[in-house]
Amino acid sequence: MSAPGPYRLKVSADAPPVKFRFDGRVVSGIDGDTVASALLANGFRVVSRSFKFHRPRGIFSAGYEEPNALVQVHSGEYAIACARATQIPLSTGLEVSSEVGWPSLSFDALRAIDLVHSVFAAGFYNKTFIWPSWHIYEPLIRKLAGFGRAPTGPDPDRYESRNAHCDVLVIGGGTAGVAAARTATADGRRVILAEYGDIPGGDGSPLHKLENLRVLPRTAAVAYYDHNLVTLAETFAGRVDARRPRERLWLVRAGRVVLATGAIEQPLVFSNNDRPGIMLAGAALKFLKVHGIATGRQVVVATNNDSAYTVARELRRAGVNVIAIVDSRESPPDELLKEMSALEIAVHKHCMPIDTQGFSALKGVTIATLGAGRDVTNIRKIACDALLVSGGWSPTMHLFAQAGGKLKFSDTSRTFEPAAAHPSIEIVGSAMGTGFGEIGERLSPVGNTARQWVDLRHDVTVADIELAVRENFTAVEHIKRYTTLGMSVDQGKVGQAPGIEVIARTLGRRPSELGHTTFRPPFVPVTLGTMVGRNVGDLYAPYRRSPLYALQASAGAFFEDFGEWQRPAAFPRAGASRRETMTREVKQVRSGVGLYDASPLGKIELIGPDALEFADRFYISNLATLKPERARYSIMLRETGIIFDDGTVVVLGPDRVLLTTTSTGAWRVAQWLEEWRQCEWPELRVVVASVTDQWATVALTGQHARTILKRLKPDCDLSNAVFPHLSFRATRLLGGEARIYRVSFSGELTYEINVPAHKGSALWGSLLEEGRFFGIEPFGVDALLHMRMEKGFIHVGADTDGTTVPDDIGFGRPAAAKQSHYIGKRSLALPENVRPDRLQLIGLEGVGAAALPVGSHLHLRGSSEATDGWITSAGALSTDGKPVAMAMLRAGRRQMDKVVTVHDAGRVVMTARVVAPMFYDPSGARMNA
């Protein structure tokens, strides 16, 4: 069978061909290929353009560290940007395209940038595009940079996440990792083995038969968090398929972690070391051994260590013409020299590449013999179409460093190695950083440093680092940020060690005297989908819905999120806007009767002999005088004296108190009470029970409320004389228990009727039925909030903020009069909280017909302050349409009848007169009716 691709040496007869598209052209690979190996087999040299200079670039590595071959995979909503061609398994129909290059990859007009590259040195953008504003230039520069294309629609794929626990987590499924996993399972420990690629032996590996071992192939360990929590990103092989998850995030809590993460080969630094055809030597070996591909026809190997000799030997044995080895060391081991001699491969000792030729494909390499200092001699050229480089191997210590392990640059191995053991990590295999022999020079002493690449993807050169040092950057972290060294997709995996050496050489220091930049998660790119898992859309956060939700939905309610609750904002009739609906609903309640769902209102019961004493310590009002069947409105403070929540308190019995809280504050308040009960006052005999969900609450409000409720025959006298405003009855209704409050947020006669949650719908239906004669209608939160604004009732969190104390909203008197202690009392006496110029709640009447915008700032005549306050709630009065507002104003209660200017979005929009915050029924006759 003929091999698909001219660079394929041999292929087993049973490997089925796989066709895919690269930039629209059909390319053939075989099963088991990656996109990178298939492109190499077919002789593709240029697969991308560099980020800044648009230099043609080829495949540089064979693994996750790939800095050059970033491609776009799929299109439309399935698009994946910046995928590494070395990591994409080939599948039929795969669409791959290059990301950088305009109008095309092969003819990139923007490579003109490369011709004037000296202008684009480190810090160029920061220095050049600052006048008048970076934002003017940004869109064009982004286009020039040629990032990948984002998906065009919501991600149609499914992602999952799961938790796992194990005694030992082995990261890396090479020889060392597999051996470690086997050993760890021997005494019954639960082991997880995660390998980024495929496990040797594949799914048929005998490893899979071990009961206490879970093997996760195609799974990257991406982050190491506290207490041995490691996150793994598992990718499912094969085509995109909506029926299966695409990726899965594992959160693994491990007893111990074994790092068998191997090492990453480092490049050599010399002029024009970025040309297509230059590749890491170890990558060439992998392409040969795994995919049967020759990376060139005339190969030169350049190295500073022993490992590349193996590559030369294996290529030669496979029939590839390996012309020469260029070794920067003076005396490579004799046995290697003998072996090369036997294979007729010339070894140039104490030599380095100092330049290369070619543009879109490599044509040759210039080498020189190293001399004293930075001198070189005997400069000569060797024609070749592939240059395989090895600058030594850096142990993959990313997770070790993320775990808090300390690394130190070793001047002998010329790479970062663990400086000390980590209590919960073991390192095995080549990740230990030993066994690479003597490591020679990896930086060319001569050449144009502006053409010597250290970071291929971001086009960071030796000259950029030299410039940074000239401009007085001396810390590694600063040089990284100024030059963007190591900040691209590969995060400096290729070139970290030479980068440190270049910085050290430029600073005139030893690399071991320098630190390293921080290793941050993720170790390799992870899709946002994997991080998010299923927590998107409706599953992002649970909805809380009242027991009346379905009834109200069928009545045409428009729902909105209020905190975690989905509540009806309004009940619009066909064609009506939300605003028109609110106006209609207010009118309905003011002139007749309405009902709304108050179930989300927080309800907390305190049970125990000390319940009232406990409650009293939280509120600014004196609860000791609270009589049975009476409800008291009051306010809760933080210890700082700042208003925290408000609601009513009812004494249900000698050892039972019922509190209500704001709808969104119920959980916070319950937790707050519980904290004080457990941590501060364990001697009080009381328990805190949140009963919000146990009760459905329907508020019946308007002048006909009593008449309608009476028709439901509650087991209590509803007359105003015995059941007045701010009182409470625990009674019976509709054949079951009920709790009825007379409180009012709307300003009208109101009964808040609580029945067990499952009876809420029955209550709602009965009230609508009995109220039909009076034209009863349901109304939403919009209308309720408008009506309370007309009454000047505060809405905690809307009218108050994180600075408001009781006196600011007119509750200074009860707060000061209460003799017994309560939380926040001491703070109310602090100088800041009694300043005479504090913001105080007032009302505003707009001069003219225009609405007062919520959030607009107020200015007092003659004031030199930037702002004198702001509008917190506003609307048009239901009685005469006049624009009114509640506002916080500097020393507001002393500004009555004064005129303030109203500033919205930086402009004066109108003036308003300061009045008391009470626009409707000031005597309270209606709610006391």
């Binding site: 506290d226 929590l229 904290e675 364990p682 001491r826 703070s827 602090l830």
Partner: protein
């Protein structure tokens, strides 16, 4: 993410807990000076090393407890109940 050994439930992951600030903070008398009171409200130690804190197992047993954590390594050195004192409190604070 910390793995916190709740004294009632055993080790659980940090997302089940709510942090409650330092333990053993003494509230000054009501008659304290404004300086003393604001120091109590707003000033907290931030030591390097062992630190005693209150944690609530909010998505578990719902109970508060004390934990001593090394702020440099995040190691939980011990957990103990409310009302108990850490043996090495004085060193930690």
């Amino acid at each position: 993410m910390l793995n916190i050994p709740c004294p009632y439930c055993g080790p659980r992951t940090e997302t089940e807990f709510t942090y409650g600030g330092p333990s053993h903070v003494t509230r000054p008398e009501f008659k304290s000076t404004d300086i003393e009171w604001t120091h109590y409200l707003y000033h907290r130690e931030n030591p390097k090393g062992p630190y005693c804190e209150r944690w609530l197992h909010s998505f578990g047993c719902g109970r508060w407890f004390n934990a001593m954590r090394d702020t440099t390594t995040h190691e939980i050195l011990k957990v103990y109940l409310l009302g108990e004192t850490s043996q090495i409190d004085e060193g930690a604070r």
